[in-house]
């Protein structure tokens, strides 16, 4: 993302700054845990060289600031794709799986499933309502650790009312995850 520098702090006329003191680069030995600094501090002018255009390469930065583009459209089909992260909850005959996908890739970012040994060890049955709640709590814990706290959950309408899906949602919300996403901010257009 491209940013521009404000003139409050970074206004400098080219070629008119004089260097105060030159830096002497002393080569100290490797073990320098407690030795105090013996050479002069770097002059402020060297540190103040700032590019007026700043690029932040973090791919999650724009979506966390709610500035990233969401995939609009798709309103005549179901489900829509206007999200940064979506939550998918599926129950099979023997197991329960929850996955978090981002809008950019078909590979899930986070998963929690009763097929993992970490979950199987703690549960009596891997397909019941208590298992769904446990999966929700553990996935919420992992999402908090991964820094993904807001996501969209579009469940199949007639399955939304079932106890399993409600228990899963309760587990996620108790873990501190918000199941809605912030609206996009339109800056500068």
């Amino acid at each position: 993302m491209a940013l521009s520098g404000l003139n409050r702090c970074v206004r400098r006329l080219l070629g008119q700054i004089q260097r105060c003191r030159p830096i002497v680069a002393t080569n100290q030995t490797a073990r320098c845990l407690s030795q105090a600094a013996s050479q002069p501090e770097p002059s402020a002018d060297e540190n103040e060289a700032v590019n007026p255009t700043f690029v932040n390469r973090n791919p999650r930065n724009l979506e966390q600031m709610a500035l990233a583009v969401k995939d609009r459209g798709w309103k005549t089909t179901w489900p829509h794709r206007e999200f940064y992260h979506r939550l998918v909850f599926s129950r099979t005959q023997h197991h329960v799986t929850a996955q978090v996908f981002s809008s950019s890739s078909p590979v899930p970012v986070l998963t929690c499933s009763t097929t993992e040994w970490a979950m199987k060890k703690e549960l009596a049955s891997t397909r019941c309502v208590a298992a769904c709640q446990a999966v929700g709590e553990v996935l919420a814990h992992r999402c908090q650790q991964a820094g993904i706290t807001r996501m969209v959950y579009r469940s199949i309408p007639w399955e939304y009312r079932s106890d399993a899906v409600q228990a899963f949602r309760k587990g996620m919300k108790d873990g501190g995850i918000t199941l809605s996403e912030p609206r996009r901010k339109y800056v500068g257009t």
């Binding site: 490797a30 501090e41 791919p59 899930p108 709640q133 199949i156």
Partner: protein, 386 residues
């Protein structure tokens, strides 16, 4: 012209009849050019004459699974995903595994023990009662411990790919972080570094406590770098902490090549990633070229590229552990800029990238007059002025 008169007369008859919802028959179908499709259309194979013999889905989940698989199939028409992948320069390129080899011993005894444990769980009456009454609360700490031993490396690698850690630190390469790093700022659990959680620079002001599983006599190197913070070059990183030749699990006993500098994400730039990489050393390494003077406060000295560092020592170092957190501006960053780095604080604001327009054409077909204004490069619009 004749068509238009037909349409308007039809409208008139509609309102004459006193009915408003009569719509005219649109005849534009005959006006546009019809060409055959450039490939097979979907659902070509379905025989519409005998729909009863077709196999039905009978359930929504079966249809949803087939639909998800069909979405991933390659198609002959242009898709948004196709455009994005074309624009990406290293899409589909082979990535090299630079980590420790992942080795799993024969699991027959382990599988037998696990099956026995599951059978014991089923026989456990207390567990069965709480499960049936839906009051069972799973123990998150125990799940975390088992997860760390079993699937943590794969999950952390997936998250690191999502956060672009491998793309920025080790281009065209990846590694499986098999050594789990426990990093904690402060005493409570809110200052722990996992894989992407948010911490404030005030929490990260001093060096954290680090622990990891290491056998006696092994040597490690720890690196804390930030690829997003660089104030001049967007492809370079700032190294915040570099400790080499760490014996066993004690980071204090290692050679501090670059002392700890707290994070300083500039205001207005959003969230920066701070990445801890743990390298396993084959033997003691002399890091003479990478030693920085003791309080290294010059940002030029701290400019760093993990690729070059790794390339220099790649015969002796292997990346084995990974942890990262995100941080954005708060008041302690101002103190870091003013007092520690002895410089004025830069402040930025977000500029949206310019709207895309296709290359300009000499005779634009069916475009409005403001087509010329799109290529006027920011000068004043000339339409709408009366």
């Amino acid at each position: 012209m004749a068509l238009r008169t037909v349409c308007t007369t039809a409208l008139r008859t509609g309102t004459d009849l006193g009915v408003n919802n009569v719509r005219t028959f649109v005849t534009t179908v005959a006006l546009c050019r019809r060409t055959p499709p450039l490939g097979p259309m979907p659902n070509d194979q379905i025989n519409i004459k005998s729909l009863e013999s077709l196999e039905k889905y009978r359930s929504y989940t079966r249809y949803l699974r087939r639909a998800e698989e069909a979405k991933k199939q390659p198609v002959w028409w242009k898709t948004y995903r196709g455009y994005v992948e074309q624009a990406d320069p290293d899409h589909g390129a082979e990535h090299v595994d630079i980590g420790l080899p992942y080795y799993r011993a024969r699991r027959t005894t382990e599988v037998r023990e696990r099956r026995q444990a599951m059978r014991d769980n089923k026989k456990n009456t207390e567990l069965e009662r709480t499960t049936r009454l839906r009051t069972y609360k799973i123990d998150l700490d125990r799940v975390q411990e088992t997860w760390e031993e079993s699937c943590a490396p794969f999950h952390i690698k997936r998250l690191a790919e999502h956060y672009g850690v491998f793309r920025d630190l080790f281009p065209m390469a990846y590694f499986l972080p098999q050594v789990f790093l426990h990093i904690r700022y402060g005493q409570n659990s809110s200052g722990q570094v996992h894989y992407g959680n948010r911490l404030t620079p005030a929490q990260a002001v001093s060096a954290p406590q680090i622990s990891f599983d290491a056998e006696e006599g092994s040597l490690w190197t720890l690196l804390l770098t930030c690829p997003d913070e660089h104030l001049q070059d967007s492809e370079a990183e700032y190294v915040h902490w570099l400790v080499g030749n760490i014996p066993g699990g004690a980071v204090q006993a290692g050679d501090e090549l670059c002392h700890y500098l707290p994070p300083f994400p500039a205001r207005g730039t959003g969230f920066h990633r701070y990445i801890y990489v743990l390298f396993k050393q084959q033997g003691p390494i002399g890091f003479q070229e990478d030693v920085r003077p003791s309080p290294c406060l010059s940002l030029e000295d701290r400019t760093f590229k993990t690729t070059e560092f790794y390339r220099k020592y790649q015969d002796h170092l292997t990346p084995a552990g990974l942890a990262f957190f995100q941080s954005q501006w708060d008041e302690s960053v101002t103190d870091t800029f003013h007092n520690t780095l002895n410089m004025r604080e830069p402040v930025f604001e977000f500029i949206r990238p310019p709207v895309y327009h296709p290359p300009q054409v000499k005779y634009p077909h069916r475009q409005p007059l403001r087509y010329l204004d799109r290529y006027r490069d920011g000068k004043e619009h000339t339409y709408g002025i009366y």
